[in-house]
């Protein structure tokens, strides 16, 4: 069984089928991209995995554990984290606290320890702060550490959101359009971060992205969705050569795909 195994997932909204019989897999340590035209069901697929939507049928498992059997908030403990397409930071918290919240599921001291703030909570806060500082160093967020997340520039907020998902030190990270609205330099930085997350932090990545240049460059595997169905699945080269994919999404006039 693959690391993330999506089998025959169907999701409907009152007769409108967002996903029909979608199945694909992510192997441990891979970067897998989910691409397709707008409305193809990419974000719906991520929402099914993270627990925002409950599919009508099908199964999703992560590392052998049935994800659909546990509520959304408990999936973090099974090794899942994600970012959102639109920035979904905790605007009132500082960057540091946003990342600390990212480690929420990894902390286990209780209410009483919180209230008394004695040894246990104190030591845990200190230890988790160290890990968070690693993330801050890695993403170059130290100038913004104590600033409220809601007041930062867009590109930085995107990075903070990546950091929040990274701070969870999950096994699989779901990234929903991390490059959306970024300039060339920020896009390159983000691509570099994703590669490093994969290689140095050892996290598998499931990426939804419209920037084909990035997708084809960094992915081990590409899954193409169209109208809620899997159109193609394979290596970037295979997908780019697929006549259906070219017709549905990439466009084929001169053989140049939609890069920058």
């Amino acid at each position: 069984m693959a690391f993330l195994d999506v089998t025959d997932v169907t999701l409907t909204f009152r007769g409108l089928a967002a996903l029909t019989g979608v199945g694909f897999s992510v192997e441990k340590g891979d970067i897998v991209s989910l691409i397709g035209p707008n409305g193809a069901g990419k974000t719906s697929m991520l929402n099914c995995i993270s627990g925002r939507y409950v599919p009508d049928s099908g199964s999703i498992s992560l590392g052998g554990a049935d994800l659909l059997a546990v509520p959304s908030h408990a999936r973090t403990k099974l090794g899942l984290s994600r970012t959102f397409q639109n920035i979904a930071l905790f605007r009132g918290l500082s960057v540091l606290d946003n990342l600390m919240v990212g480690r929420h599921a990894r902390m286990d001291y209780g209410i009483l320890a919180s209230i008394l703030y004695l040894g246990r909570a104190r030591r845990a806060e200190d230890a988790h702060r160290r890990r968070v500082e690693d993330v801050i160093d890695f993403l170059g967020l130290s100038p913004y550490r104590h600033q409220a997340a809601g007041k930062l520039p867009y590109g930085v907020q995107k990075r903070v959101e990546l950091g929040r998902a990274l701070a969870a030190e999950s096994d699989l990270i779901l990234l929903d359009e991390p490059m959306a609205g970024m300039n060339l330099e920020e896009t390159e930085d983000m691509a570099r971060y994703i590669l490093d997350i994969n290689e140095e932090w050892g996290m598998s990545v499931l990426l939804v992205e419209h920037d084909m240049g990035v997708v084809m460059d960094i992915s081990d595997k590409v899954v193409v969705l169209d109208f809620g169905r899997v159109l193609a699945e394979g290596s970037p080269q295979e997908v780019m050569a697929d006549a259906d994919v070219v017709a549905a999404y990439l466009g084929g006039d001169d053989g140049v795909f939609l890069g920058r």
Binding site: S50, G51, R52, P71, S72, H73, A74, T76, K77, S81, R82, F84, A88, L89, F90, R91, G92, L93, D97, M100, V101, G102, H104, A105, M107, Y109, I111, A113, S114, I115, L116, Y117, A121, R122, E125, D126, R129, R130, R164, A168
Partner: protein, 348 residues
């Protein structure tokens, strides 16, 4: 020979302290000493105001935990406060010692608060406000009609608290007692807010979908917010019962709930210090207006009656002006003032 310019931390724990700098610790120490000595130089009336402030601080800071930090608007806080007062009065009438009554009243109120927090699973914002308003009305009805426990409309008498044989039977003694309890309550909220529990509360307020993704069980944590907030409100209510020595249902009406909301809005939502400032401000304002009307009446004898009547209107006017000119509350103004003096006399 080189002093340091500004505040530097060498440990993460140092940064997490409530009073991170020595200057702050010294000034808070001086303030605390002055506060403890103040009753010696005051008459009973002024000391009684201080007692009311201490109790109001507990109520406001606890509501700020629920509404300001966790984003769950509550219009029933006055009734929760009342549950604490009645629980304390009833338990004390059974002969329980004060030190057991205080936390027990908190626990009873926490249970009631969590019960009325159940709708927060489905309801947000203004809808939750209406649901908690229902809690306020239901609880008021219970206060008035559960005669066997609450004494109904005739109310309940409460004896002054005794700790190890020492009776807190004067305003000055009650001042020290309420001050100590208020400090503990504020410390609890400070601690909650610098740990995972408090961060989860703010996460729920700011973006509940993301909060769920990072692993916060929304419902469980909302209930925790209701539980902790009502526990503290219950402790505040218990102190109120012991301090006033006679409680009746109308003390815990919707007016009390609204005045707690006014305290945290004027003090600053989502700030512990804001809750304290708001409680001080809202408690002192009517007394100050009383004082003004009284003294102005000595000069303008003809209109002293009218001045007293205008007091309520002025109270409302001050609140409205505050919301217009200082929408982020007193806590924010305090921050700005501190920032100004940090660099004085330079602009940058």
């Amino acid at each position: 020979m080189h002093g340091q310019c500004g505040l530097f931390f060498r440990t993460y724990a140092g940064e997490a302290r409530i009073f991170p700098s020595r200057f702050l610790m010294v000034s808070m120490g001086l303030f605390g000493t002055a506060l403890c000595l103040a009753p010696l130089a005051m008459n009973n009336y002024l000391v009684s105001i201080l007692c009311l402030i201490n109790i109001a601080v507990i109520g406001a800071v606890s509501l700020n935990l629920l509404t300001g930090f966790c984003g769950q608007i509550s219009l029933g806080h006055g009734a929760f406060f009342g549950v604490g007062a009645y629980a304390a009065a009833y338990l004390a009438s059974l002969g329980l010692p004060f030190l057991a009554v205080l936390p027990a009243a908190g626990l009873v109120t926490a249970a009631v608060g969590m019960f009325f927090g159940l709708p927060s699973l489905r309801l947000k914002g203004i809808y939750l406000a209406i649901a908690t308003l229902a809690a306020q009305l239901i609880l008021e009805y219970v206060f008035l009609h559960w005669d066997a426990v609450t004494g109904g409309s005739s109310g309940m008498a409460v004896d002054p608290p005794q700790v190890f044989g020492f009776a807190f039977d004067s305003d000055v003694k009650m001042f020290y007692l309420t001050l100590a309890v208020a400090c503990v309550c504020v410390l609890i909220v400070c601690n909650v807010m610098r740990t995972r529990l408090g961060r989860a509360f703010v996460a729920i307020r700011d973006h509940h979908l993301s909060a769920e993704i990072v692993g916060v069980d929304l419902f469980a944590y909302k209930l925790r917010a209701f539980g902790i907030s009502s526990f503290l409100a219950g402790v505040g209510g218990a102190l109120w019962a012991f301090y006033t020595m006679y409680i009746t249902p109308e003390q815990f009406g919707i007016g009390l709930s609204v005045s707690y909301l006014a305290m945290i809005i004027i003090g600053g939502l989502g700030s512990v210090l804001g809750g304290v400032f708001g409680a001080v401000f809202i408690t002192i304002l009517p007394e100050f207006l009383n004082f003004l009307a009284h003294h102005a009446g000595a000069f303008f004898t003809d209109i002293s009656g009218a001045l007293l009547a205008m007091k309520e209107g002025v109270f409302g006017l001050v609140l409205v002006l505050f919301l217009i000119f200082e929408p982020e509350g007193l806590a924010n103004r305090w921050r700005l003032v501190k920032a100004y003096w940090k660099l004085y006399p330079f602009a940058h």
